[in-house]
Structure formats: C-alpha cells, structure tokens
C-alpha cells in the first residue's frame, strides 16, 4: 500500500540507499559522458584545424609555386590556340569548296594556322583539270600564292587518276 506522505512544509522524504546509489551512478555516468563529449569536441576541433591548415597550404602552393613556372608556356599555348582559333577558317573553307568543281576531288587540307599556309591534297581525271584547279585558286581573293607541289598517277578501282598537292599561302584580302 502506497504511503500518503503528506507534509505541509512540502519537504521530500529522505532518499533511500537505493536512491543515493542511483544518484551516484547517474552523476558518474554524466561525468563520463561529459568527458567523452569534451574529448570528441577537442578531436573534432583538431580535425577541423588540420583540414583548414591543409586547405590553406594547398592554396598557397597553388599561388606561389605552379603559377610562375607554368604561366609562360600556358600563355604562349593559349596565345597560339587563340591565334589559330581566330583565323577566318570558315571563309577559307567555303572558298576552297567554291573553287573545286566536279573534275577535282579534295582529299585533305593540312593547315598551319599561325603561318597561314595550306597543303591541299586532291585527285583529278587529268593533268589539265589539276592545273585549272590551281589556276582558279590563284585567282581567289584569299590566295597569296598557290603552287602545284607534287603529282602522281594512281589507279583507283580500274580508273586512272592523277593525285596532286598544292602548297598555298593565304591571307585576308587587304
């Protein structure tokens, strides 16, 4: 049967031995938990500090080490790429297509962007067609010079054709 425990001064009855024991266990557990928490917090802070130091070191190395050694080459390469990309390739290729006709088949174009020189490889049914093609190239507004470089007769599936190359210098019309 449960006691009434009425006390108008509202004082709690003294704790039993079990109560004190549980209190001690609770306090000890709290102390252990607080210690663990402190250690974990220190460990986390240490890890964060380490990560921050590493990140700061990487940035410094990136700024102070690599940039001076790599930058000139990168700048030159970038400039070359930029120069090559800024050439009027679209206009030049359209001009090459316009000059060619059904008697000449273009096989390849090797371009030196910075030097604005081309080597065109093509096949024609006759030497006269090849010469006509070179002549039309020379008449183009983009062409500075066009020279028939080499030629050879080839048998393509039973048909005799002449493969030739043209060295061409080009530039924007002034």
């Amino acid at each position: 049967m449960q006691r009434l425990r009425i006390d108008f001064l509202n004082r709690r009855p003294p704790a039993s031995l079990l109560g004190w024991a549980l209190t001690l266990v609770g306090v000890a557990s709290m102390a252990v938990a607080a210690l663990d928490y402190g250690q974990a917090r220190d460990e986390l802070q240490s890890t964060l500090d380490h990560a921050e130091r590493q990140a700061r070191g990487s940035k410094q190395r990136a700024r102070s080490g690599a940039a001076p050694a790599v930058a000139p080459e990168l700048v030159r390469a970038s400039a070359r790429a930029d120069a090559a990309l800024t050439q009027p390739w679209g206009r030049l290729l359209r001009e090459l297509e316009t000059v060619a006709d059904t008697r000449v088949a273009l096989l390849g174009v090797e371009a030196q962007g910075a030097a604005r020189t081309l080597r065109i490889t093509a096949e024609a049914a006759s030497m006269a067609d090849a010469v006509d093609y070179v002549e039309r190239l020379r008449q183009s507004a983009l062409t500075k010079s066009a020279v028939l470089g080499s030629h050879e007769w080839r048998n393509a599936e039973g048909v005799e054709v002449i493969r030739f190359s043209v060295d061409m210098a080009w530039g924007a019309p002034s």
């Binding site: 049967m1 006691r3 009434l4 009425i6 006390d7």
Partner: protein, 274 residues
C-alpha cells in the same frame, strides 16, 4: 553534539490540548506525557490558536529555543477530500489547480486561505487530498522567533499514522481509522486504492468515543464506494482509545508499536504520529 543542542520534539496539536513528547534520556519512552490543557478559542479565533499560543509559551518556559519540532495535527484542523483520478491532468500544476478548485467548490471562499496538499497520484486511483489554514503554517514557521526553534514537519495525524502502519494492511480490502479525542477519521482501502475517506466529530471526548460513530461512518463510506463489503472486513485502528492487545470486537485490529522506543498508547501516539 550539534544534535544534542537541537532536541527533536514530537508535538500533537489538538483543539483542547497540546501534547509534547520527546526521547527520554535513557533512549526509551516512559509514562504518557502530561497533556497541556488549553483555554477554548475565542469566537473569532481559529480553533488552533490556543494550541499555538501554548506551544510558543511552552518552548520559552522549558528553555528549548533551538528545538526541532514534528507537528501532528488533529483532524479538527484538517479537511480531507478524496478526489477522483483525472486522466487529462498530466502536469503537477494542473493537478494542484484541480485539487484547489475542488476544495473551493466544496468549502467556498474559505478555501482560498488554506494550504492544500495531496498524496502522490497513481493512475486510475483516487487521490487523497487535505487542507489546513495557511495562517497555521505561518504561525508554526514563526516559532523561529522563539530562539531558533524549527518546525521540520507538519502532517495530519491521520496520514502520519497511516504511513506508519500501511505495510501491515497490504492490498487487502480493509478499513483504516485514526481515533482522536473528540473526532474520528476513517478510510476504506480496496486493492491498494482509496475508496472512501471521512472525518467525523463525536460528542464523547473520552478515548473510546469513536465507537459510537464507527458503524455509521462505515455504512456511509461503503454505500458511497459501491463495493459489496464482506462482514468480516478488518478494521485497523491507530490512535487513542484502546489498550493494545485487547480484543474487544471481531475484525478490530489495534495497531500498536512494540518495543520501548515509541509510545504504545495514549495521547503520546498522536504526538509521535503513530
């Protein structure tokens, strides 16, 4: 030595007498301490005023200004109620307010000046609650002005006696009564829960006056509880009014301490709360 300078006194506050007892020098208890008779309270005075005035004077007369006091109150100063379990009250403050509200509803505006206490609530079980004058608590605490006397406990005699003997009752269906001169408090317990609780005055101020009101109180409480109580439901009694060991009625069990460290009979039991 510190405790020796602060003797622990057991005090019973009644309407017409004051009983003070304490440990004897030999560690045991002797004869019943002589109750200090009181003049009746004035028409506008609370019933406890003469006992409080006598207690303060007695502490000064006996040169006990640093005494520690356990105060046990007569049921004449205490109002009991048995409150139904309210499952929707989940916070202690809510239960506190509910108990206060019930006293206000039962006793009116007078309850505003009372200090209310309740037993620890148990789910599904009625909660015994009681109230005393707030002014009585204040005057007891003001005994500090008598040197450095300190009241360390204020409890109704009924609840103190029940706490002392409840282990004897177990979980059986039983009556528990506390007999005092001029009043009797009776509770009904069933399977470890309170099912009824009443106090009643009786005209016979002698120790055996409770006998005249017991059957009526049992009938009232049993009827209100709705329980079909067997005839042989035991009645456990504490307080004044019988000689321990005397079997004067079937089913009546007088609870009396054994040994020499607590008084076995008489008004000293009220002072000790047993």
């Amino acid at each position: 030595m510190w405790f020796a300078e602060r003797p622990l006194l057991q005090v019973a506050l009644l309407e017409d007498r004051l009983v003070v007892d304490g440990p004897r020098r030999d560690g045991g208890v002797g004869t019943d301490p002589k109750p200090l008779p009181l003049a009746g309270a004035g028409a506008d005075e609370p019933l406890w005023r003469p006992a409080m005035a006598r207690l303060a004077g007695w502490l000064r007369e006996e040169s006990l200004p640093r005494a520690r006091l356990h105060i046990h109150l007569s049921s004449r100063f205490v109002r009991w109620q048995l409150l139904e379990w309210q499952p929707q009250l989940t916070q202690p403050q809510e239960l506190e307010a509910y108990v206060r509200l019930r006293f206000r509803a039962t006793f009116g505006a007078a309850a505003d000046g009372w200090r209310v206490m309740h037993a620890e609530p148990m789910p599904g079980r009625a909660v015994p609650a009681c109230a005393i004058d707030e002014a009585l608590v204040a005057e007891l605490q003001a005994l500090r002005s008598v040197g450095d006397a300190r009241v360390v406990r204020i409890a109704p005699y009924f609840s103190a006696a029940f706490d002392r003997w409840c282990a004897r009752l177990g979980r059986q269906t039983a009556w528990f009564g506390a007999a005092e001169p001029g009043s009797f408090t009776l509770g009904l317990l069933h399977k470890g829960a309170w099912r009824g609780l009443r106090s009643m005055r009786h005209p016979d101020a002698a120790d055996g006056g409770w006998r005249g009101v017991l059957p009526a109180m049992q009938a009232q409480i049993a009827l209100a509880s709705g329980l079909a109580l067997p005839q042989d439901t035991p009645v456990f009694l504490a307080g004044c009014g019988a000689i321990p060991g005397r079997r004067d009625a079937p089913g009546l069990v007088w609870l009396a301490p054994e040994g020499r460290h607590e008084p076995a009979q008489g008004l000293a039991r009220m002072a000790w709360g047993i």
